[in-house]
């Protein structure tokens, strides 16, 4: 068994614990070797207190610590910086206690410990955390820490901006609250897989509700943070706004569809004319009778004229879509409708049509004025043109609001059309469905192109022998 003193002499260096005391009565200082090592001093005589304090980077601070201990009489402690005799910067932890005898401080003693390595580690850790916090807070994409049950724990600025909520609003909700219901199941299934450890991360495109109620498309990346025991702690979610990309993709898909459709129309219509021209020229070459030849030349001329007309029609479509960026002033629908009804009044009177108008005065639509006139003229004159022979035509023109967007309907009691048979070509070029002398198959084709160029949609419902209703969904007027 070592004596207490011996044990203490051995253990102190083992623990890297410097021990010192200052006997104030005799003014004697004692250190153990660890203190020498920390101060980088050789086998020199014990220095004075002032000399000892001079090693500290901030001697005043060290002095205050001593004073505090002397004044309080209780243990005091502080982390201080010092510069060793060889110039090494160090961080030390000082503990200090004053001893009193008969109301007088007779001795101060304490410990000194080199904590440089520990401090460095802490600093590195702190820096790393700061770096993560910076990356989190200032990330250009939305980031969040989410609890295992879906509650938002921490969200960054980008996410707040993306969703239109403040951080406090987030913390009172779960991600489930903000998710578009149809996309929730897929998300939850993946979360379960993540918790079960079957996958280490997942990403998906999903929809969330913005604070103002609209839907946003986002690309979500989720990973799971576990503790040392492998137990799940929380999710790290990255949420990137892809609404714009989604919308652009839809626009591109629409445009490609229209382009392909247009290519087919061009190919088909030019081919029928050029086919006829080719037949005519080869027949003219073979024909010997001059009178016959003359007749065929006249036909060739007609054909050339038809070809030009078709080209003009096609050109009109190109013009409509080239003008997609054109102004869309807000037009009062009732005023435009009244104007069109005046234009059409001769044929309305001739057909004795009864027109019921149910359009509130304040309905406005963002549309090119010429296109709006074309749409209204075509829909109303079609209703008159294809009226039922046995009854007086009746038209009901109405607007209702559908999700805040005006929806115009033009309903007639005319011939009707079998949409099961013809629905897919109702709005096609040169498609006609009734043997009417004026039917050219251009009206609805133009109308559809004009409505779509203005960002709207058009469709129809019909029952043969009963009547047809056309619907025009306008593009919402953004204020």
């Amino acid at each position: 068994m070592q004596t207490e003193l011996r044990l203490y002499k051995n253990i102190a260096p083992l623990a890297g614990l410097g021990i010192w005391e200052h006997d104030l009565v005799k003014d004697v200082i004692y250190w153990n070797d660890v203190v020498r090592v920390i101060l980088e001093l050789g086998e020199v005589a014990y220095p004075s207190v002032d000399e000892a304090l001079s090693y500290y980077k901030d001697p005043v601070k060290a002095r205050h610590l001593i004073d505090r201990a002397v004044l309080s009489g209780s243990p005091e402690s502080a982390d201080l910086e010092l510069i060793g005799a060889k110039g090494t910067h160090k961080c030390v932890n000082i503990r200090i206690q004053a001893e009193y005898s008969k109301g007088k401080c007779v001795r101060i003693y304490g410990t000194i410990q080199d904590i440089t390595a520990h401090k460095k580690l802490l600093k590195a850790l702190e820096e790393r955390e700061q770096r993560f916090a910076n990356a989190f807070d200032h990330a250009p994409i939305g980031m969040a820490l989410v609890s295992l049950t879906g509650g938002w724990i921490k969200v960054n600025t980008s996410l707040c901006e993306l969703f239109g909520y403040a951080e406090e609003d987030f913390l009172q909700h779960t991600f489930q609250d903000f998710t578009f219901p149809a996309d929730l199941d897929a998300d939850l299934k993946q979360l379960q897989q993540l918790i079960a450890g079957k996958i280490s991360t997942y990403s998906m495109e999903k929809r969330y509700y913005h604070a103002d109620g609209r839907l946003i498309w986002a690309l979500l990346n989720v990973s799971l943070v576990r503790n040392d025991l492998g137990e799940p702690l929380y999710f790290v979610s990255q949420i990137k706004d892809v609404t714009e990309r989604k919308r652009n993709m839809e626009i591109i898909r629409d445009q490609n569809g229209r382009l392909l459709n247009f290519a087919h129309i061009v190919s088909h219509n030019l081919r029928s004319h050029s086919g006829n021209i080719r037949m005519l020229t080869s027949m003219i070459q073979q024909e010997e009778d001059e009178a016959e030849k003359d007749q065929m030349l006249r036909l060739l001329d007609d054909n050339a004229a038809n070809l030009l007309e078709t080209l003009e029609h096609l050109n009109e479509i190109v013009r409509i879509h080239a003008g997609e960026e054109k102004e869309r002033p807000e037009l009062p629908l009732t005023r435009e409708l009244d104007r069109v009804l005046t234009i059409l009044s001769p044929s309305i009177m001739a057909s004795q049509a009864n027109i019921i108008k149910d359009v509130p005065d304040d309905v406005k639509v963002a549309f090119d004025p010429a296109y709006l006139e074309s749409v209204l003229v075509n829909l109303i004159s079609n209703a008159l043109k294809y009226r039922h022979p046995d009854r007086r035509p009746e038209l009901i023109i109405r607007t209702i609001f559908c999700d805040g967007v005006p929806l115009l309907s033009v309903a007639d009691n005319g011939l009707g059309i079998d949409l099961k048979l013809h629905g897919h070509k109702l709005f096609g070029m040169y498609k006609t469905f009734h043997r009417h002398p004026d039917a050219r198959g251009m009206g609805l084709f133009l109308v559809k192109n004009q409505v779509e160029a203005m960002g709207g949609q058009i469709w129809a419902e019909s029952q043969p022998g009963v009547g047809t209703t056309f619907f025009v969904q306008f593009n919402p007027v953004y204020v």
Partner: protein
Amino acid sequence: MKKFDIACLIDDDKMFTFLMSKQMRLIDFCDSILVFNDGDEALRYLKPIMHSPETLPSVILLDINMPVLDGWQFLDEFVKFDIPKKITVYIVSSSIDHADRIKAASYREVSNFYVKPITNANLVEMLNEIEV
């Protein structure tokens, strides 16, 4: 040379039907020609006479894109006929859309697909395919 008895043209392009009729007469393609401007017209004519073979055409040149009833809609009705006579159907169209060719191939009744213009050689080819 073989020839058809009655040929039937179903096409809304009146210029085309006029020229085809002329060309058919020139090469002695058939004895007589029936012309219809859409599928519905043709069906209305053929339906009541489908059980009297001598009045039915033996070849039909059918356009695809037509008003009222188009070529496909005509075929869908036509295949339901119970006809006591072999009627050869050719699609004659301006369509170079591959989808139309594939669709044509799905009808057993369609023998071939021609893209306009139709040349004399095309007509001769049809004549050569007449089964004796």
